[in-house]
């Protein structure tokens, strides 16, 4: 357990700055691409990244391993903060619309040199994503990365709200299956 993400968070609760530095080194390269993908502006992405890790430092005591992995804890926070910023931008300028058919399906090139476990993990998730019907991938893209609510997605796609809800549910069911521990 030594050096695991959860362990580092425990040390952060105790005020261990070293642990925070290691926590950052481990997770910032994971969270940063997500923020960048949502925001696209590197300066904004850096701001949000800092905000997210600052909150992690301050809120370390609130982390409960029973409720999820450190990654999920951070990623959820990062996504929320990035979307907050996107929505604020949208309020300021109605013209800002995140690009739609981004290559969600196109599996990014493996940078290589990763541990086998991660590579395996990546392939599995990419595979699951690739297996989704494009309509389901699209709602994930619009909701998760572009920050649209289900009502906004329905308007944008000119689909009944019920259809959008179903697509969201089915898409997430499929993705959950990939990470669900086999029992």
């Amino acid at each position: 357990m030594t050096g695991s993400g959860a362990e580092l968070i425990r040390q952060m609760v105790a005020g261990d700055r070293e642990a925070f530095a290691r926590f950052y080194d481990r997770y910032a390269p994971l969270v940063f691409p997500l923020i960048q993908r949502i925001l696209r502006e590197r300066a904004d992405a850096s701001d949000v990244l800092q905000e997210v890790f600052w909150e992690a430092w301050q809120g370390a005591a609130g982390y409960d391993p029973a409720r999820g992995s450190p990654e999920a804890w951070l990623v959820t926070r990062a996504r929320t903060r990035a979307i907050d910023r996107i929505r604020a931008m949208r309020r300021r300028s109605e013209t800002f619309v995140a690009p739609l058919h981004d290559a969600l399906a196109a599996a990014p090139a493996d940078p290589g040199g990763d541990v086998a476990e991660r590579t395996e993990d990546r392939r599995t998730v990419q595979h699951a994503l690739a297996q989704l019907p494009s309509a389901q991938r699209e709602v994930i893209e619009l909701a998760y990365y572009a920050g649209l609510t289900q009502t906004e997605i329905a308007e944008r796609l000119k689909q009944p709200l019920g259809t959008v809800k179903t697509r969201i549910r089915l898409a997430l069911e499929r993705l959950r299956e990939v990470v669900r521990p086999t029992t």
Partner: protein
């Protein structure tokens, strides 16, 4: 009770896509500690984290980590910012004052940290801009010196202006030499295409005898050039000015095609 509607709500909630009354409804449901929805949400967040992990990692700008570490150091000068509180020994007012101080420190550190990364970037951009401007100023100073010397020359009745016309490979090129036999002068060129790689333009003065090299010059992106021309040794007269295309660095006697020349 049928739970299925909540499964649908939970999925949209996990994606952050729930809005309006349904968001209120689902949060009320969650507040009742629905174990099934808790599992759905936990698994959904893990799946979305796995999705994030499936993207190639990217190294964030180093100043973010630096800013965070200094923020933390500013807020917690000791290694332990979350020590156990004194057990009620302080009067509440002192506690409140301490809280206010901590809050102020947090806010200050937050604001400082928030802008540090931005400031670092701004500083780098400023340095780059300054460097560029210094380069541009140097170029402008050179041009200004050329124009001044040309203007000075034009006040002298012995100065003449020689027109050069484009030839062969660059018929659209034009040039002028403001020329004073004993002082020298300036060459101004327009519409001359930049030379091919490892070639350069070289000016020649032709009077009695063989052409004399009068220096190589650069052409800018718009095809313009300005070049100082030294007087011929002994102040001998020049009959023709000519520009040829030569190997880089220039040569003592012309070898390449003539691109500009004055009329005899």
């Amino acid at each position: 009770m049928n739970h299925e509607p909540f499964d649908t709500l939970a999925a949209a909630y996990a994606l952050g896509a729930l809005d309006g009354e349904e968001l209120v409804e689902f949060e009320a449901h969650l507040a009742q500690e629905c174990a099934r929805c808790a599992v759905t949400l936990r698994e959904s967040y893990e799946a979305l984290a796995a999705l994030a992990r499936s993207a190639p990692p990217a190294v964030p700008p180093p100043e973010v980590k630096q800013a965070l570490l200094s923020r933390i150091a500013a807020v917690a000068p000791t290694a332990s910012p979350r020590r156990e509180r004194g057990r009620g020994s302080l009067p509440w007012i002192a506690g409140a004052a301490a809280a206010a101080i901590v809050a102020a420190a947090f806010t200050g550190a937050f604001v400082a940290g928030h802008y540090e990364a931005r400031l670092g970037q701004t500083a780098r951009e400023l340095a780059a801009t300054r460097q560029r401007l210094e380069g541009e100023i140097a170029v402008l100073n050179d041009q200004l010196a050329a124009y001044r010397s040309a203007a000075d020359l034009l006040r002298d009745p012995a100065t003449r202006v020689v027109t050069l016309r484009g030839l062969g490979p660059s018929p659209g090129a034009t040039g002028w030499v403001i020329w004073h036999q004993t002082v020298g002068g300036q060459l101004f060129v327009a519409n001359l295409p930049p030379p091919p790689p490892s070639k350069t333009y070289e000016l020649w003065t032709i009077g009695e005898g063989a052409p004399r090299p009068a220096g190589v010059f650069r052409v800018d992106a718009e095809g313009r050039a300005t070049h100082r021309v030294e007087p011929v040794e002994g102040g001998k007269p020049v009959k023709v000015f000519a520009v040829t295309l030569e190997p880089e660095g220039g040569v003592p006697a012309p070898t390449g095609p003539m691109v500009l020349a004055s009329a005899k």
